[in-house]
Amino acid sequence: MTAPLGKDLLGLEHLSAEQILRILDTAEPFKEVSERAIKKTPALRGKTIVNLFFEASTRTRISFEFAEKRLSADTVNIASQGSAVQKGENLVDTARNLEAMRIDMVVMRHQSSGAAKFLADRIQSNVINAGDGKHEHPTQGLLDLLTLRDKFGKLDGLKVCICGDILHSRVFRSNLWGLQKLGAQVGVCGPRSLLPVGIDELGVTVFRRIEDAIQWADALNILRLQLERMNAGFIPSLREYYRVFGVTEERLAQAPKDLVILHPGPMNRGVEIDSRVADGPHSVILPQVTNGVAVRMAVLYLLAGGRPDLAEAAKGGDA
């Protein structure tokens, strides 16, 4: 048995299309586990997983925890508040201490881009990036891909426009690579002050007006606009953002077809997305959340099978 993903899942940029598809295909049977009365499989029995969250997170942390528990892993949650991190411990020492307790996997959310790779380079355990700064959020990208595939049947040729604060978005960066590798076309739409320099070289179509994006796209993935962006001078006000870039029923009515609406959450209703759109018939926002558990189960399962030391033992056995 070879490791299908390698040791870690740090992002989608360095995965192949085959690897991404293998995760999505593995997620399919796991969807069913969550629909059972007894939501449990023994796949990760005896594995110890640490959920290391340096940033506040509700959805992602709980989704990972359900995925782990439904696979029968033993889990520990560490938040930066109330831990040694708050006492000034650096990430290297945190990692070394975790490793000394003989764990199997770490799921980490961290405010600095590159932190997941930093950790993965220094410990033998599998590392899953649950969001590193503005870099990547690979399981979010994967669950978005799975949700789009559920809806459209395929991703090849699909036009997906990611809307909003592209500059600060790890969701964008994971979606970008995942969509492009699977043959979808990627558009971005937002004020130029929230698009990174270099965006034009990333193979995306840039829309300055949301109306144009709506004419082009099959699906919109609408990012959360954070209040801090206004205070940092990137946009004048949330009110104006809604007026210029908000995805509303009126704007969607101008589209040549019904657009599928995604949002990674948490939503600012009435800022980047109108409530009637979020709750409307073409919204797949809740299916995204459901798929999140299945995708994370798939990633955990594949990485657990891919540990180099186990792979070595399995070669002479029942692999």
Partner: protein
């Protein structure tokens, strides 16, 4: 001190346009003569230099020696020894220590520590403003009286246009350059690497080229207004090179330096979140590297400086956002210059020595940079063809933070002399 004869080396002296095999006689720490068959003075020590290049010692107008205050990273003594090992006979210490070098007593301390080190000569640079806070001008007269050779708030820009203007005016009484770290702070704030395609991919906050160029443009305009000498530190962008090229056409006293990492590496070096590729100004794009090389060729960039910035090993063992800026440079500068610029076809070897010795001495009015008769016998002997691999663990600097570990460089320092005295001699290796 016994007379000294350095015999049979290829003697390159850009100050006299000398480039030929010759002997060099040193008496009382000064160059006494250059030529063939000069004879050997009574009791002289003879050093064989056959197969080696002999040039004026290298001079670095931009190093951080961390003393006082951060001696875990470097001291004046270890920095001066690292310099000697890299072929430098003179280094200018930036004042952003703790506390900053902003008064005559502090300048005197740096001078004294430099003398005690008995390695490369150490020249203090004084702060432009008290505490480098940007509010009140430091006492340039007293700084210079105690031994400062220039003023700078390096590490930080002089954000106030008025303060920069005043510094450029006031410094003229003492004939010293005002060296500026060009960075428009509101554009650079929070940035950790060059703003471009790589920062977009990595999700790291970028520092746009414009943050440097806006301040370069301001300083040039103020040099025109005041007719003072502004020296622009660590130039990194093609736009800066173009601005300086135009400024030099006007005849204003605008001079500039560039660092070896900026003529060697691009922002791609940050791609694996390697914190040893994190410096300020950041590594830029290939077109910027080309422009820096062009500037060194045509003299738009007057000199090469290392911006030697030691950090304790665990300071760089951090998330990219949290790691400090800067790399050590003294022990790799000559090897990079020869490998990248000379072997890269940008400069001749004499032109490289011009940019690393003669020009920096001239800009900062320092002894050295010349082997003409009567000059101080500050010189370096190196094997221009020797290939060697950078092993940070062998650095004489206290710090190891370099992106060049494992890289093969060309040109190995064999011996460094200051005032005719050997301050560094390579241990013979296989």
């Amino acid at each position: 001190m016994k007379p000294l004869v350095i015999r049979g080396g290829r003697l390159i002296d850009p100050s006299t346009s000398h480039d030929a095999v010759a002997d060099l006689v040193i008496i009382n720490g000064k160059v006494d003569g250059i030529g063939r068959n000069l004879g050997t003075p009574d009791g002289a020590q003879v050093i064989e230099a056959k197969g080696l290049v002999v040039t004026p010692g290298l001079i670095d107008v931009h190093v951080h020696l961390r003393e006082p205050g951060q001696e875990d990273r470097e001291t004046i003594a270890t920095g001066a020894m690292a310099a000697a090992a890299g072929g430098f006979t003179g280094i200018c210490a930036m004042p952003n220590t703790d506390p900053p070098i902003d008064n005559q007593a502090s300048v005197g301390f740096v001078v004294k520590q430099g003398e005690t080190a008995r390695a490369a000569r150490v020249y203090p640079i004084g702060a432009i403003t008290l505490g480098q806070q940007g509010d009140q001008l430091a006492e340039f007269g007293e700084l210079v009286g105690a031994g400062a050779v220039a003023v700078s708030d390096d590490g930080l820009p002089v954000t106030s246009g008025h303060m920069m203007r005043t510094a450029l005016e006031y410094a003229q009484t003492f004939g010293i350059p005002v060296a500026d770290h060009c960075e428009e702070p509101t554009l650079a704030r929070g940035g950790v690497m060059h703003e471009g395609l790589v920062s977009a991919r990595l999700g790291l906050k970028g520092i746009p080229a414009a943050a440097e160029e806006i301040m370069v443009a301001r300083d040039i305009i103020l040099a025109g207004l005041t007719r003072g000498h502004v020296h622009l530190c660590h130039m990194s962008t093609r736009g800066s090179v173009e601005l300086i090229r135009r400024a030099k056409d006007t005849g204003w006293a605008v001079t500039a330096e560039a660092c070896p990492h900026h003529f060697t590496l691009t922002h791609e070096a940050c791609a694996g979140y390697d914190t040893n590729a994190k410096m300020n100004p950041p590594l830029r794009e290939a077109a910027d590297v080309e422009a820096i090389r062009g500037g060194l060729k045509d003299g738009t960039i007057d000199c090469i400086a290392t911006d030697h910035a030691p950090h304790h090993y665990d300071a760089k063992e951090r998330e990219f956002d949290d790691a400090p800026f800067g790399i050590v440079g003294l022990e790799t500068a000559l090897g990079l210059g020869i490998a990248e610029l000379v072997q890269g076809g940008v400069l001749t070897l004499p032109e490289l020595i011009l940019r690393m010795s003669t020009m920096p001495a001239k800009l900062f009015h320092l002894p050295g940079g010349s082997l003409a008769k009567g000059q101080v016998a500050d010189m370096v002997m190196f094997d221009p063809a020797a290939r060697w691999r950078v092993e940070p663990a062998r650095f004489l600097s206290k710090s190891r933070n370099t992106p060049f570990g494992g890289r093969e460089l060309v040109g190995r320092v064999v011996r460094t002399l200051v005032g005719g005295r050997t301050v560094f001699k390579a241990t013979p290796t296989a």
